[in-house]
Amino acid sequence: MPELTTPPTTGTARVKRGFAEMLRGGVIMDVVTPEQARIAEDAGAVAVMALERVPADIRRDGGVARMSDPAIIEAIQNAVTIPVMAKCRIGHFAEAQVLQALGVDYIDESEVLTPADEDHHVDKWAFTVPFVCGATTLGEALRRIAEGASLIRSKGEAGTGNIVEAVRHLRSILGDLRRLSVSGPEELPTRAKELGAPLELVREVAERGELPVPLFCAGGIATPADASLVMQLGAQAVFVGSGIFKSSDPAARAKAIVEATTHARDPAIVAKVSRGLGEAMRGEELGALTTRLAERGW
């Protein structure tokens, strides 16, 4: 039977969201060198986030945090076979264009970097490469999806090793989703106004009872039990930033978090992999912070 010769279409919503589906149940790890990227891949990471500095160091160093040097991103791309993501500043579409030109697999328009535009996020529909964006509430998640994000992650409070903010954001987003799913059609225009999100998208989400794109957790994961917690709360995969390479034994901790994410609902396995991992990252009480990264973006 002759094959069809219809030309392929790239950059469709299905291809972008579908790629996010392929990352489900996995761990995406922040790395700053090719060596760290290889440790992450060895441990079973589904993707790495190529950075110049992990969030804990960005927080410590202060100053303006920007897109990573392309040379660092390319060195990491060459070191591993798994997908490589990278971050651009909120609203900095020129950084996003550079990342797309580099062939980055996912762009994180991230509050961890210093925002470039205080009114507008990147028009993500204009790109072939998919985008992930952070959110603290359902309204924020829906605004990012309306702008073209194909994956949403909780913001958490990056670089703190403290899971409390990620839990707050997940519970807020998932709780509001449940409330929306029992709202009557006459309530939805008011809910859309309250959420600050397009009515069509609010109607779609109310009918499905879930976001039209996957919801992952980021910000503060430092232990296998943290990963188990957020997966059981309803996250579909986890980003681990500083939690791995700021711990005393990154390779062992990375492997343990991978297993705990897959077997999140099996406490015997989470217990087994949590043994003898050495020191977790030290972490920060939120009250002690001078900068709240989660407040960036709107």
Binding site: L23, R24, G25
Partner: protein, 190 residues
Amino acid sequence: MAKVGVVALQGAFREHREAFAALGAEVVEVRTPADLSGVEAVVLPGGESTTITRLLDLSGLREPVRQCLHAGTPALLTCAGLIVAAAEVLDGRPDQVPLGVLAVRVRRNAYGRQRESFEAPVRIAGLAGGPFPGVFIRAPVIEATGPDVEILARHAGTPVLVRQGRLFGATFHPELAGDLRVHQLVLQEV
């Protein structure tokens, strides 16, 4: 009612579960060898093949799943699942040892990175109802097939859906297509 076991270590297992459930099958998620009990068809889903391979070893599922497929249990192997089941993997990790049950040689990420992921309709031999929506995500390419492997569909000259006995291997994602015909093909074998 057929009982389908979807290997749920990592990846797009939920979409397969929903597809088979929509066809009336009983679906279980497989994370440990005990979960395979009574399963009449197996799915190895898409995801990250290096991660899934590693988790198959850690969970003790490698040998039970291999035996299941080797014994001719109907199976749907999509994208990473096809790589995991293949006889030979190119551009993989050196320690990425596939199950070796499906006689194909596959090259990982052969079309390029996510930027090059695409949709294209494919014509499937023996499948009524017109072309099937092919969703190819960082897809592998089947570079060679063994004598017992039948090629059911091609794209750009290479096989994208193959069959060996009751094992079906796709480089694309029928679970993302909103079209249940490929899942139906597998279920007919139970």
